[in-house]
């Protein structure tokens, strides 16, 4: 129980018993995640809105070959993956900065054992 409570603090409470730098980093990554989620929600809602209100557009062929229904659908599947990869890279960058930050902290405060 203790372990999961500690983890709870780490995930959810910035004043918890984790390194403040790391908590802030997770905060940054979590915000990026929410932003990406929002982008996807707009794309998804746009698709649902076109299906409902402008179904005539779905038969059009904006890129010559396949129609908008197929292009948008495939685009949604592809964008889920692309946004996922963006998120992975973003988290990796944030984590790396955190590690660097910890290293910097150590050098600045050598007396703190």
């Amino acid at each position: 129980m203790k372990a999961s409570q500690a983890a709870s603090q780490a995930g959810d409470d910035k004043r918890g018993p984790v390194s403040p730098v790391h908590a802030a980093a997770r905060g940054t990554a979590a915000r990026i995640g929410l932003l990406l989620c929002l982008i996807y929600m707009v794309l998804y809602a746009g698709f649902v809105a076109i299906v409902l209100f402008r179904p005539d557009l779905l038969a059009s062929r904006p890129f010559g070959g396949v129609n908008l229904a197929i292009a948008y659908g495939m685009g949604l599947i592809a964008s889920a993956l692309v946004l996922g990869l963006v998120y992975m890279v973003a988290c990796w960058l944030v984590d790396r900065r955190t590690v660097d930050g910890r290293a910097a902290q150590k050098t600045v405060l050598p007396g703190r054992k």
Binding site: S4, R61, I70, G84
Partner: protein, 584 residues
């Protein structure tokens, strides 16, 4: 249509089942800890977990159902694919890492991590069981329905085979063997869908001039079946259907396009004239007659929404809201399904949870794109059974070779194993870990936790088999939709608010989970779809404006949580670690 049993399919399926059970015994040969049984020691590699997500999530309904829906109605099957995949975005960006950080074995652990409340555990364990059992019934009934055409065995044999195999898999090594079964199934499924899609593209589109005479299937009161007035037999059966009548202008001189590139395949199909088959029923003293008749359609019409969701073309507000509600439930439901969430406890840390979700999205997304090709390929293959959309993918495979038919049939059947073992694992955790240990307060040693988990798994396996046989003659396909709606309405609001609103209280969570579950269930039971398909009553008698509850019950879950939380004392900012101290 009558099917010939393929001994090769039976052999492939039997060897698959025997090897996964063998693997399970091998993995379970060592003594187990609770962490091993419920969470595979948290040592599953993120890549393996990502593929296992696909094996867990892609049920027989996903594979056969979506292929069949595309083959019979065109684009609308792909709408489900889009919704099913979109849910993974919520899982990745919002749910994955907190679930991993907060929980230990079950979803209830995560929701309750801040409060230690029996009310939350009881509510969440109940919703886990309800969702898992609703999801389980169509899988088990599907196993029975599939085994007859695919492997030539009776319904009950399919149900019992799956029930026993899955119970053995779960009892031998719990989450460890479940993970590997899901990994193997996920890889096989996506690989062979890829092979089949490549063969479809290589064949290109072919004009075929099969007979377009309507066909009549009569079921007489004594149960015998007539085809066009003569008794049905191997030699006298319904003709397979689905063909291209005319290729586009540019192929005027030819009857075949030859190999096509992926997007080219779709655009040529859009410009072709396609024959699909519809049916109408009427009954008289002789029996129930179903007439199957050809409908000539433009490819462009089949490749846009509206073929299955007739409501999209009526212009009625209630029909539009029904569609929005479905798309919302699919979006919110995936990340709230307990059998998906427990997979997050099998990896090492949050980074691994994140990476495995991205792998899952890649594999599942690829699968959905492939099923679009499989469905369309089946639509024009001239091999469809007009009575059963579920057989579209295997029958398509048969147009290439009998070996491929055997492989696809065996894989279609094994897809049931991966999903059902995930569901039984989720249920086992809810019963043993949440209800017995945490709600009833039964103190357990590590060894006992495993033993109770296994007993729960055996019990659930027996329940699953019984349900699969009892519900045999019910239309159960919509139960998956119920499961998504209940999961989205009960679980998602609680999880999201716990993560993003500090004022959330334990009473708020308990109320939101309970009311989300009850309101979505009540809405479904009162809906026009249920009136018509389950009770056999008139659609008009229904008292709710549209059938899918999500649009109302998901916001309701949030609202209940907020209101109840505001009326109850806020949670202590820090866990009350002094509570065990004397109070003088």
């Amino acid at each position: 249509m009558l099917y010939e049993t393929s001994p090769a399919a039976v052999a492939i399926f039997a060897s698959f089942v025997l090897s996964v059970i063998g693997l399970s015994f091998f993995l379970g040969r060592k003594g187990q800890s609770a962490k091993g049984y419920y969470a595979a020691h948290g040592e599953i590699h993120w890549f393996v977990n990502g593929i296992a997500f696909a094996g867990d999530y892609l049920s027989a309904a996903s594979f056969l159902g979506i292929c069949g829906m595309v083959a019979f109605y065109g684009y609308d099957g792909f709408l489900y694919s889009i919704g099913f995949l979109a849910g993974w975005v919520v899982a990745l960006f919002v749910i994955a890492e907190p679930i991993k950080a907060l929980g230990k074995f079950t979803f209830a652990d995560a929701l309750d991590s801040k409060f230690n409340s029996r009310g939350i555990k009881l509510a969440v364990a109940t919703s886990t069981l309800v969702v898992s059992i609703f999801y389980l019934i169509p899988q088990m009934v599907g196993a029975g329905d599939l085994i007859t055409p695919l492997l030539g065995l009776p319904h009950a044999a399919g149900v019992i085979l799956v029930g026993v195999a899955v119970t053995l898999i779960v009892v031998t090594a719990g989450m460890v063997s479940t993970t590997w079964v899901q990994f193997i199934k996920g890889s096989l499924l996506v690989f062979f869908c890829g092979v089949l899609a490549a063969m479809i593209l290589n064949r290109g589109l072919v004009e075929n001039t099969g007979s377009l005479e309507p066909q009549v299937r009569t079921v007489r009161p004594d149960g015998t079946v007539l085809i066009d007035g003569q008794p049905q037999s191997k030699g006298h059966d319904l003709r397979p259907v689905g063909s291209i009548k005319r290729l586009p202008e540019r192929y005027a001189e030819k009857t075949s396009t030859g190999p096509l590139r992926p997007l080219e395949y779709l655009s040529v199909l859009e410009d072709s004239t396609i024959v699909t088959w519809s049916s109408k029923k009427h009954a008289d003293a002789e029996g129930v007659h179903t007439t199957y008749f050809p409908v000539e359609r433009q490819g462009a019409d089949l490749l846009k929404p509206g073929g299955y969701f007739k409501g999209l073309t009526t212009g009625k507000l209630a029909d539009k809201l029904d569609f929005v509600s479905l798309m919302l439930a699919l979006f919110c439901g995936t990340a709230s399904l307990p059998h998906i969430l427990i997979r997050y406890y099998t990896v090492k840390d949050q980074a691994a949870a994140r990476k495995s979700t991205v792998v899952g999205i890649a594999v599942i997304g690829a699968f959905y794109v492939l099923t679009l090709y499989l469905g369309l390929g089946a639509m024009v293959s001239g091999a469809l059974d007009p009575t059963s959309s579920n057989m579209a993918a295997p029958l398509l495979a048969k147009t290439f070779s009998n070996t491929l038919f055997a492989i696809i049939s065996a894989i279609a059947f094994t897809t049931v194993l991966g999903t059902v073992s995930g569901l039984i694992m989720a249920g086992s955790g809810a019963v043993a870990h949440d209800l017995l240990e945490n709600v009833c307060g039964i103190a357990m040693t590590d060894h006992e936790k495993v033993r109770y988990g296994k007993i729960a798994a055996v019990g659930l396996g027996i329940v699953a088999m019984a349900l699969g046989i009892v519900f045999r003659n019910f239309n159960v396909s919509f139960l998956v939709g119920w499961a998504f709606n209940i999961a989205a309405s009960a679980n998602l609001p609680a999880l999201v608010m716990l993560l993003f609103w500090r004022r959330t209280t334990k009473q708020g969570i308990t109320a939101a989970v309970t009311l989300g579950m009850l309101s979505s269930l009540a809405w479904i039971l009162l809906s026009a779809d249920t009136f018509e398909k389950v009770y056999g009553w008139s659609r008009e008698a229904s008292i709710v404006p549209f059938s899918q509850p999500g649009l109302v019950t998901i916001p309701l879950g949030f609202l209940v949580l907020i209101v109840v939380s505001l009326f109850t004392p806020p949670p202590a900012e820090k866990p009350a670690i002094v509570s065990s101290q004397p109070t003088w």
